[in-house]
Amino acid sequence: MAEIQTRMGDGYTVSMTREEVREDLVAGSADAARRGKIPILEPDELDYLLEMFASPTRIWGVERGHEAVLSKDGSTNSLYSAQLSSGVGLPLSREQAFRTFERAFGFDTMEIGHTDYSVKPAKPIVVLEQNHVEAVLHTTIIPVFYGFMPNLGLYYQPDGPFPNPSDLLPKGQIAEARAATEEALEVCYNDLVWMTEKMDEVGADGINYDTTASTGDGEFLATLRAVEWAAKNTHLAVEVGMAAECVLGFHGQLEYNGKRLAGMWPHQQMEVVQEAGAHVFGPVVNTNSRKSTPWNLARAITFVKACTKDAKIPIHPNVGMGVGGVPMFEIPPIDVVTRCSAAMVMIGKADGL
């Protein structure tokens, strides 16, 4: 029986029979359906994915007429930063890198962001960040975002002033951990608002709150409140990109408009982000490196479809290293990156990536 060459979630090549690929597609979708209590993929959608993986071509793409847009996170770090930001270490300024992304790589939006891509370290150098945003606003055509991670973890000891819930919870100090989260998220929220206002002042086109909820439900709440503030008080387009597929409940009892944030899956995250007033939502589905790419992609698309089905705002799923079905490897292989990207649009009905 002819074998299909595809990848595992760690990026290594694996040979699978047609039946094995189909079994993994079904199992991946079923896993997402069980966790999120959402529908599994339809038979014709599974057929599309099977034919896509069975095709011997290295590159895959969307059908003509189904082209989607490409938004960016992580700013220009990809070009001038080091391995820590998946950067290739080019001797480029942020302005040069931004224009390279627009002209040579054809990106539809781009960001300026601090090399240390979190809101807390960006605050002290905000005037430098504003100046760089202004510079690219004059010389480029694509929407200019300013991006950062809320990264509530930096507000806890040893990096910040508040006791660390990760230290308190193993000791059973749940009330103390919750109190620390509640105090820290207020400070994080104030920082998010302050930086957002600064970027609106200089005419940025948008703000991107990236890897939202990386430190769980406290960070998610701070970000949702910042989205609300930005939507009411600025003219910025607000993009929210998540950190993981499920919101961790470090606090466990935080709510937004009566909805508990801990344990939210992508379609539930989408609802509150949309309610808060965001313009674009970027769900994340994490790759399991021990499973095949067919398994991972079917799982990711099942979650994303549950978002796009009811969304009233554009959905740009994160499709990159270790997310959106793509293998968790420093240089994700192009044969599966193109498949995952195209399938997110064709089957997942994404409005962009």
């Binding site: 054809g106 606003l137 003219h235």
Partner: protein, 81 residues
């Protein structure tokens, strides 16, 4: 249109294609769009002397699509327009 009016992809394409007077298939055709962008002077990918660049192109896009763009409004404010 996604960023200014929260339009989903298909609606955004229909809107832009309508404003440009072309079909959605043409909107996704890089050959058609390269020529059209130069005709409308809204910015092209290659470096053409005299063609609108940067904020110039963005201002023309804002007028063409009837959308508010933050940095274009800032330029107008700075110039007292």
């Amino acid at each position: 249109m996604q960023l200014t009016r929260k339009m989903r992809l298909d609606e955004a394409k229909q809107y832009v294609a309508g404003k440009l007077g072309i079909s959605v298939m043409d909107l996704c055709d890089s050959t058609v769009m390269r020529r059209l962008r130069e005709e409308l002077d809204i910015g092209v990918i290659t470096a053409v002397a005299g063609a609108a660049k940067g904020l110039e192109a963005k201002a023309r896009i804002a007028d063409l699509l009837d959308v508010r763009i933050n940095c274009v409004e800032r330029l107008r404010s700075k110039m007292g327009l």
